[in-house]
Every structure is written in C-alpha cells, then in structure tokens.
C-alpha cells in the first residue's frame, strides 16, 4: 500500500493518520524543516527532529504543541515506525522515514547533499519509495564546491573594502545567511546583520554552530565609517527599501542557486550573483535518488515533469506529487524577484 498520498491538506500517511508538512491546518503534523512553505501554523500537534526545535518555536510560537525526536531514533504510531534523518538543508532539517508492514518510504522535504558545517549532513536512507523535491531539477543547475563560492564572496568583499564601500549581500534569512556567515573569511572586516537575520543567528549559535560576531545594522547611522569595511547580510526584501539608504555607496550581491542563470541574475539587478543554494543540484538529486536504492520515486515541487520523465527513462517508476511547497514549476524561477522562494 502507499504510505504517503497527496491530499488537499498535504502529504498524508493513511495507516499513521498524520500529515507531512501540511499546508492546511490538521490534527497531527510531521515537519521536515522550518521554512515557511513546509512548517505552517495552526496544527494541533507537531512532530519534528530535535535540532529543529529552536527555529520552529521561534517561527511558529513558543507555545506550539511540539514533540521532538533525535535523528535516527524510532517512534511507533498506529503501527507505523517513524524516524528522522538529516537532510542537510538547514538547521534541524530532516527526511522522514516511514516503515509499515515491511514497506519503507522516505519523504525528504528539501535537501542538499554537500555538507556545510551549519547542520547535520545529508544521509542517504535505503527505502522502497523515495519522495524527492525537484527545485533545481534541470541539468543546467550544477553547483561549484562551496569553498569556491565563499572565496568569490571574500574577493568581492575585499575589493569593496579597497574601494571604501559597503558590501550588501542579499540572501534568505534562515539557513543561507548562517551558512554564509559560517563560510566567509570573518577576518576581513565587521559584519552587519539585518533585523530579520539576527534572531536566527541567535538560534544557530545556541545550537552550537560557529558564526562570527555580527552587529545589528540598525544601530548604525548613515556615513558611519564602519560602512566602508562592512559586509551586510540582509534578506532580499530589504533591497530597494529605505533601509538601504544608510549604506551610502554600496555594492550589492545576491546569493541563490537561481543566480546560475544570466537572465535571473540580470533581472535581480544586483552587481553580483553568487551561485549558492541550499538545495541539491541536478547531479545531487540524481545521486541522492540512486543512493536510496528506491525503485519508486515521487517527485514534488520544482521541475516535476522533467525529473519524472528523466527518471522513467532511467527505468524507475516515477510520478509527480502535487504539493504547495515552493510554487509552481516556473514560478519558482521568477519568484526570486519577490524574495520569497526557497533558494
């Protein structure tokens, strides 16, 4: 039997009678990670991987009815054995393994295969059926090793310091921001963070992730000499707002997997685009799918049709799942403009 089916409320496990990352309020929810399109408020009961607790509570409220489970530990519910396994996407992100009457399914939520030091690295889990995302499910998406990207960011920052102007780097405030903070060369200069980024930094630090010291950008006035040296980490929504005025003459950049394409880069209208994503690239998706040993693959949000067709050509039984994660296939590429899409 199918351990997970798509229902109007979300992905549903019939024998266990619970939902995974539901987009409508339900009784029992299992949450893969705390990004807004996966963890929504209003559910009666939440179950999540233990390292994600801090973020989930800070985003959905301290008083949510949340039960947590360490990675790898098993829990029985209505005859279904459930466990969480690292997805390598953001702090606390997990794949959900479900076992029922000898049948094993894994729902991966969002995942990234390159370890980054800010969260437990992706761990392939053997299963019969694998539910995979497909955000970057086209062969044009292939990431460079992150060390190379961080070096590019460092160089850009250094050049800006030499020119005496601030370096404003836009990125998603949960996950990407901390990964960048963790990866860049903190000795280059002071780092300023936007008000949306700072609370998440706190949660990461509390979880034992090393982040360099950050200053709250709001504490500085326009023309403060610190600006000419500083790296500013801000969410995309801050771009073009009056908040930016304090930086005077600055160079701006955007860090996202979508920056791989010249068109999206230019549409963004920033000086630089750094190709850095918290999702698997095309080879990463194919590698992860292969590692699970699954013969059946259910594809969610992203390039669903493309990945399904490709996997079928490889002899797998692949199908699409309609979900409300991310957005429609092509909207994702353009949603970068609104700054809200996972990247």
């Amino acid at each position: 039997m199918d351990l997970v089916i798509a229902r109007p409320e979300g992905l549903y496990c019939p024998p266990g009678d619970f939902y995974i990352d539901p987009w409508r309020a339900v009784e029992r929810s299992v949450i893969t990670h705390a990004h807004g399109d996966h963890a929504r408020s209003g559910n009666q009961h939440y179950l999540a991987a233990a390292p994600g607790e801090g973020i989930l509570r800070s985003r959905l409220g301290q008083d949510i009815n949340l039960q947590t489970l360490p990675y790898g530990e098993r829990l029985q519910h209505h005859g279904v054995t459930l466990s969480f396994h690292p997805a390598g996407h953001v702090l606390g992100s997990a794949q959900v393994r479900l076992e029922y009457q000898g049948e094993v399914w894994v729902a991966s939520g969002d995942y990234k295969v390159e370890p980054d030091g800010t969260c437990a690295p992706f761990e392939p889990v053997k299963c019969h059926t694998f539910i995979t995302e497909s955000t970057f499910g086209l062969p044009i998406y292939r990431w460079q090793p992150q060390a190379q990207i961080f070096e590019e960011i460092n160089q850009w920052w250094r050049a800006n310091i030499a020119a005496g102007r601030a370096s404003v780097l836009f990125c998603y405030s949960f996950g990407k921001a901390q990964r960048i903070l963790h990866g860049i060369d903190e000795s280059l200069g002071p780092i300023l963070a936007h008000g949306a980024v700072e609370p998440l930094n706190r949660v990461y630090r509390e979880a034992g992730v090393h982040l360099p010291p950050t200053l709250y950008a709001g504490d500085f006035k326009k023309n403060d000499p610190i600006m000419g040296q500083a790296l500013v980490i801000a969410p995309p929504s801050a771009g073009g707002s009056s908040w930016m005025r304090r930086f005077g003459d600055y160079s701006d950049a955007f860090a996202s997997g979508w920056m791989r394409l010249r068109g999206t880069r230019r549409r963004r209208g920033v000086d630089r685009g750094f190709v850095l994503s918290d999702h698997a690239d095309w080879p990463g998706l194919l590698w992860a799918i292969e590692q699970t040993g699954a013969e059946r693959v259910m594809v969610t949000h992203g390039s669903v049709a493309v990945l399904v067709r490709h996997l079928c050509e490889q002899g797998l039984d692949a199908q699409g799942f309609t979900t409300e994660y991310g957005d429609d296939e092509e909207d994702l590429a353009t949603a970068v403009d609104s700054g809200e899409a996972a990247s």
């Binding site: 394409l261 549409r267 490709h310 050509e313 092509e330 590429a333």
Partner: protein
C-alpha cells in the same frame, strides 16, 4: 579569450556606465592591440556572418553533454539563450585557454565557416574543451553571431578616447565603418583608432563617412515650445521622413552610400549611381532614402483618370520589401524606385563643414541640388510657419503626407556626433502613434533578462463588430515592449493561469487581457492572416478597464489604412 570573457562578465554584471567605462579602459590598456582590435569590433556591434549553422551546433552539444534531446530543449527553454545553455550543460573544463581573442577568432573560429558537419564534429568539441564556462559561453556567442552586451558604441568610443587622450568625436569618426563586414580588424586598424591626432586628419580618405548626428525625441506640449525652444523662427523645420537614413559620399571619383547602421549599401541602390557623375568630388550629403513615385492605384474619386498623379513618398513597407531582396530585378526597381531626400551637407569641396551653422550648410546644399538637378537628389522641403501653433496645425497633415512628423533643427547648430546636445540639437517631433485596443491571445517566453517570463505576446482584434452572432479574434501583431517589469510579472502569472495549450515555448491563452497597442505605420499585407501589417507595434497601456468584448475590430484597422 579569457581576458575578454572577464571583460564581458564585468560589463554584464553592472548597470553603471562608469563601471563599464572603467572595465573597458582596463581591458584596452592591457590587451595586445590585435586582441583589442577584435574587442572593439564585437563591443561596437560587429558580427561576422554565422560561422556554424545553429542546428549543427545544437546537435553537437547534445551529443557531447550526453543528454536526451528533450532534456536539452527543456534546459534551453529555462535559460532562453542557446550559447548559455550549451555552456551550462557541457562538462566543465578544468583548463582554460589563455590565448588571446585574435588568435581564437582568426585561427580557430573564422576557419569554421563552411566546414562540413564531419569536420565540425571533430573540431568544435576540441575547442570547447579548452575553455572554462564563461569563455565557453562567449565563444559560442561569437560563433552564432549573438554576442551582445550592454554597452553603446558611444561608450566604447569614450573608453578608447579617454585611454588614448583623444577627443571622443575624433575616435567616433575613426570608428565609422569599423564593423562593416568588409573590414577585418587588425592590430594596425586598432592602433589607428587610438593614434595621436595628425594634421591632415580633417581630410577624409576614401569612402569613410562621418558619424551621424542623431535627434532627440520631443514630447512636450506645443504650448511649452516657446519656453523650451525659443521662437519658431530660430529653427529649421522639415518633415520627418520614414526611410533609411544615409550618407552619400563622392570622393576620388567614387560614390559610396552608407546607412545609419554603418553598412555600406551602395550596391543596394543602383538608381543612385548616377550621382557619381553628378556630384563634385569632396561632397558628403546626409539625407533619407525613400521610395518616391506616383501612387499606383487610381482612387475612386479621381474624376479625371488622365490627370498625372504627382510622385510622393511611399510607405516604408515598400522600401522594406526591397531591402529584403537578395537580387534587385527590374520589377522591384520599377515598383520601388528610390530617391535621396537630402537635408544636410557635411563636406563640401573636400572640406569638413560640420562646424558651420545649420543655416549655412542648408543654403549651400540647396545651391548644390539646384545646380546638378538630379532626379534622385531632392531637397527635403523646409516647412515654414508663423509660430509653433501654426506649425503644429501643419503637422496634423503628417499622416496624409506619409511622414512621421517634423524635425526641428536649430538654425545656428553645428552638426554633432551621435546623440549629443553639446553642438546644437535636433529634435524629432513625431505624431502620436496609431493605436487600437487588442486582445492578447498567445504568449511566448522571452530571452536574456526575460528568460522564462512570458514576455512576448501576440495580439488580435475581432473580425466582426460587437453583437455579431459569431465572431473570432484575428491575430495581427506581436509586441514585447512597453510594459514595466512589475506589469510583465503580473501578465506572466495570468498567462500561466489561463494557458489553454502549449506549442513548444508558445502558450495559447483564454483571452482576458486587453492592451492599447501603438504602431507607427500600417499597410496591406498578403503574408498576414489579418491582411494587415503594422510597423513597430508596442504596448502603450494595459487596459484593465476594458473587457475583451470591447476590443477593436478589423474594421478599425482598415479605417486606419485610408
């Protein structure tokens, strides 16, 4: 190649003119002259003829990257640029060629032209393997002739001028014709661009034209003209012709005709060759090439069929048909004979007249035209009026006269270089475009900055008036400009929600969107389903206040033809 790819990346990454200038100056100051020669060529819009057929290029790329054809196509649809797609799907090369742009272009790329598919299949992958991703994309763009980057010729000129310590007008003049197909950039030709000024430089050599002086658009209401421009009597007013801007050059017993795109078009206009005898050496005339003849069809209200019809300017569409022809047969020459509507004199008796006032140049031009009395060289008539209001009234006749409005040229202005205002100004005072309300029925994803956004639309009007029992939408124009980025995103999301069917990159939609479409000209056409072809269609306004039923009909378009 690598250095040029880095320059391209820098130019592509910024919207600031100063940053672009700095990047170009940096490149030019470091590059060997033979590389710089090609860089100037490509940056100022030069394009060699296509070196490899796109189909072969695409098939080879698919073969090398090992993807299914459909997967490559899906990738291309997402990227919206063939060269970029290929560079993204081919295996990343660990090496990167440091060899210069000139050896790459001359020894590796240009020799590809005309090679058999077998030879190409051997050579191209070997070339690709030598390039890192940015260089690879650039290389393919050079091969397909699709190299474009956001710098204007003026900016390239400024970069060269400031690096060489020259006046940028001088560099602009030397650059004219640099990108013509007959010219091959060399170290020597580049060094000539940036060489120190010489005394005899004012004496133009051979068929070299002058940089064209370009006009600025004028859209202020006529009531403000006195304040903005001063009295009308300070201005030389002419009709704005809708033809091909050209310079006619007679030197050393030879005639050259250059178009504004800086293409040598002498051979395209054999009827102008008689000017080689008529014009004295050392003459350069600026004007517009237009089709000039008596209208063919006898209108119904012509009472006297024997009365000869006066020759007049004909629609641009007719000229366009002729431009498109490979060979110019007798029929097309009879159907669309051209003349030069002369409006300026840039060189006279071998002397550069550009720094003389407009009025003086005009006077000498008229004297010259009167003297040689050639049927293919007509003076663009001066329009006189008491004041701006009077001129505005006369301008209303533009459409029936077949012109686009008026040109205003300051009587004391010198002849400038490009679109500048420092030597005097030319204004184009155009009439409002034709406009109709049309319905969006197909949308296609765009390219470049608009890749994966539905940004190119096909528009239709109704074939019958409202209330007809049955009526359908007839497509008549495609347009992709005029919307703001925000509007385009909105339209994009509506297109996605209302898509009925997809044909490759094109989606048909349930008609819900009405736009006011503007265009400059309208003509009968056998090639279009609607029987009508419009010129420069673009979106003027999104009519969110109008329903699809309120859109215009084919009859509205036909009325505009009269």
């Amino acid at each position: 190649m690598k250095a040029f790819a880095e320059l391209y990346a820098e130019l592509d990454a910024t919207t600031s003119s100063n940053a672009k200038l700095a990047a170009m100056q940096d490149y030019f100051s470091k590059a060997p002259p033979e590389d710089a020669a090609w860089a100037v060529y490509f940056l100022s819009g030069g394009r060699p003829r296509q070196l490899v057929p796109v189909k072969i290029l695409r098939d080879l790329a698919v073969q090398v990257c090992g993807l299914s054809l459909w997967l490559f196509e899906e990738s291309y649809q997402a990227v919206g640029d063939l060269a970029e797609t290929i560079s993204l799907v081919l295996p990343e090369s660990p090496r990167s060629s440091d060899e210069g742009l000139a050896p790459w272009v001359e020894e590796k790329l240009l020799p590809l032209r005309g090679e058999s598919p077998e030879v190409l299949a051997e050579r191209l992958p070997a070339l690709w393997a030598q390039l890192d991703r940015p260089s690879l994309m650039l290389c393919i763009k050079l091969i397909t002739g699709s190299f474009r980057v956001g710098v204007s010729k003026l900016l390239v000129t400024r970069a060269l001028a400031s690096m060489a310590g020259l006046d940028s007008k001088r560099v602009a003049q030397r650059l004219v014709g640099y990108t013509d197909l007959s010219h091959r950039p060399t170290a020597a030709s580049y060094l000539k661009l940036i060489a120190a000024e010489s005394d005899d430089e004012h004496a133009q050599r051979g068929g070299q034209p002058y940089p064209f002086f370009l006009a600025h658009g004028l859209s202020a209401p006529v009531a403000q003209f006195d304040a903005l421009l001063g009295p009308a009597s300070d201005w030389q007013v002419e009709w704005k012709w809708d033809g091909i801007r050209a310079q006619v050059i007679k030197r050393d017993d030879h005639l050259w005709v250059w178009s504004r795109g800086e293409d040598l078009v002498t051979e395209r206009f054999p009827e102008l060759h008689s000017l080689a005898q008529a014009l004295p050496d050392g003459t350069v005339i600026d004007g517009e090439i237009v089709v000039w003849k008596a209208p063919q069809s006898v209108t119904e209200d012509a009472f006297d069929p024997d009365a000869p019809l006066q020759p007049a300017v004909q629609p641009f569409a007719l000229l366009q048909q002729r431009i498109g022809r490979k060979t110019l047969g007798k029929k097309i020459l009879d159907d669309a004979p051209v003349v030069v509507m002369a409006y300026d004199l840039l060189e006279w008796q071998g002397e550069d007249w550009r720094s003389r006032p407009q009025a003086e140049r005009r006077e000498q031009l008229e004297a010259l035209i009167a003297r040689i009395h050639s049927p293919v060289l007509l003076p663009s008539p001066i329009v006189t009026g008491q004041d701006w209001l009077d001129l505005a009234r006369q301008r209303e006749a533009s459409r029936s006269l077949g012109v686009e409005g008026m040109m205003l040229k300051a009587r004391n202005a010198l002849y400038g270089v490009g679109r500048t205002k420092d030597m005097g100004v030319w204004w184009k005072w155009k009439i409002d475009p034709f406009s109709v309300d049309a319905v969006l029925i197909y949308a296609q994803r765009g390219h470049g900055r608009r890749a994966s956004l539905y940004s190119d639309y096909t528009f239709a009007v109704w074939d019958n008036p409202p209330g007809s029992r049955e009526r359908t939408l007839v497509p008549f124009a495609k347009a992709y400009s005029g919307l703001t980025d925000a509007e385009m995103r909105q339209v994009d999301s509506i297109v996605r929600k209302t898509t009925v069917e997809k044909f490759g990159p094109v989606s048909s939609v349930t008609p819900t969107l009405v736009f006011e479409l503007g265009f400059e000209g309208i003509a009968l056409s056998k090639r279009h389903k609607s029987g009508i072809a419009v010129r420069f269609p673009r979106m003027l306004r999104w009519r969110q206040d109008k329903s699809v039923d309120e859109a215009d009909t084919l009859a509205t378009l036909q009325d505009l033809l009269k």
